[in-house]
């Protein structure tokens, strides 16, 4: 038992070090410097501040924040987002109200105020940066999927 564990460990170390060696030589990688060196950090970009709502990729997606939220305070003391997005404030701010799903607890019980579990906005809602992602996202939304399937169906019928 003990010996076989040792042998397994040895094999694992061999495989891992081979993997590291491969990464350092010819495998496509995102690091701009060798593993043992610190890569230069890419510059930080300002948050996008267009105020134009972005399309959601699927209906349940938490909408992304189309404006800068740098230094917005969201903690036990106060919540800056709710200055505009709270139900009572939307009249003046003309901002979209916090969705009604935020007013229920985890048992589906309707509450008079925002549920504590939905209070920290940036757990789900995030601002955007004008960056080219290093790894592109291959997500395909349902409309595209259905259209492709319909096209395939039409081809099969021919």
């Amino acid at each position: 038992m003990r010996q076989s564990t040792l042998a397994l460990n040895a094999v694992a170390i061999l495989v891992l070090s081979a993997g590291i060696a491969a990464t350092q030589s010819d495998v496509a990688q995102l690091r701009s410097a060798p593993l043992a060196e610190n890569a230069e950090a890419p510059p930080m970009r300002a948050q996008m501040d267009t105020d134009l709502r972005q399309v959601r990729n699927y209906p349940e997606q938490p909408p992304v924040i189309p404006h800068a939220i740098e230094n917005y305070q969201v903690d036990l003391n106060a919540n800056k987002c709710l200055t505009c997005h709270a139900r009572a404030r939307t009249g003046q701010s003309q901002a979209p109200m916090v969705s009604v799903t935020h007013y229920t607890d985890r048992d589906g019980q309707v509450l008079g105020a925002i549920s504590a579990r939905r209070y920290f906005c940036t757990q789900c809602h995030v601002p955007q940066h004008p960056d080219d992602p290093a790894v592109t996202n291959t997500f395909v939304d349902i409309d595209t999927l259905l259209a492709e399937e319909a096209a395939r169906g039409a081809q099969a019928d021919d």
């Binding site: 501040d49 267009t50 105020d51 404006h67 800068a68 740098e70 230094n71 305070q73 903690d75 036990l76 003391n77 106060a78 919540n79 800056k80 709710l82 200055t83 709270a86 139900r87 009572a88 404030r89 003046q92 701010s93 003309q94 008079g112 105020a113 925002i114 549920s115 504590a116 579990r117 209070y119």
Partner: protein, 223 residues
């Protein structure tokens, strides 16, 4: 007392018997210069950031707050220090504020704020005092640098220019009404802390809507 005043006045009316005219006039002039210069120097010395953060309660709390905000670090490299916002620039108002600030010396002497906990306990009261002052003078200390007339709406985001046009231009709101918490972290604005009766429509985040208060604390403790 009355006789003393009478005698004093009589003496003041008499010509000098021991001192020369030159001594009195030049001496008076020099003393005046020294007094006024000294007064102004002391006033300016107490009007610097270094003086403000000389006390640990300022350095450890409000100064640390400031260093995370846009008034400390920003793209144009202009920085606003303590007196820029907390001491009026107009002379008479400045003197009035300095006199009022003598109360803060008592706080320092008696150690009203010695710990972070004590600071947090007083934060709401102190913040409210400053908000009230800014509202009363129409955010004068903001406007020393930021003037509505000088704002380029094309440079602002659509959202910002809309709000400024709607609320600032009409005088319906003043800067601090929306920008409270721009230079320091906001105090506990939950109903438990501020009391349900003190709802203020102009203050951000003071509705039940926004502040779950103890329920939030319970939730956080459970995680």
């Amino acid at each position: 007392m009355k006789t003393f005043l009478k005698k004093f006045w009589a003496a003041m009316r008499l010509p000098s018997t021991h001192f020369s005219l030159g001594f009195l006039t030049l001496g008076g002039f020099i003393c005046g210069v020294l007094f006024w210069g000294g007064f102004n120097t002391a006033l300016e010395a107490t009007n610097t950031e270094a003086f403000c953060v000389g006390c640990h309660e300022m350095e450890a709390n409000v100064y640390a707050d400031l260093q995370t905000t846009v008034h400390w670090n920003n793209s144009s490299g202009v920085r606003a220090g303590c007196p820029d916002c907390h001491v009026p620039h107009n002379w008479t108002d400045k003197i009035a504020r300095k006199v009022a600030a003598s109360k803060e010396v008592y706080g320092w002497l008696f150690g009203t704020i010695d710990t972070e906990e004590e600071f947090e306990a007083h934060r709401l009261t102190m913040a409210r005092r400053e908000w009230a002052r800014f509202r009363a003078n129409d955010s004068l200390e903001c406007r020393n640098c930021h003037s509505y007339a000088a704002m380029d709406f094309a440079e602002q985001s659509q959202r910002a220019s809309d709000q400024h046009e709607r609320f600032l231009a009409t005088g319906e709101r003043t800067c601090i009404d929306c920008h409270a918490g721009i230079a320091h972290r906001l105090p506990d604005l939950s109903e438990q802390a501020r009391g349900p009766a003190s709802f203020d429509d102009r203050m951000p985040f003071t509705r039940r809507d926004g502040i779950p208060g103890t329920r939030l604390q319970v939730y956080l403790d459970g995680h």
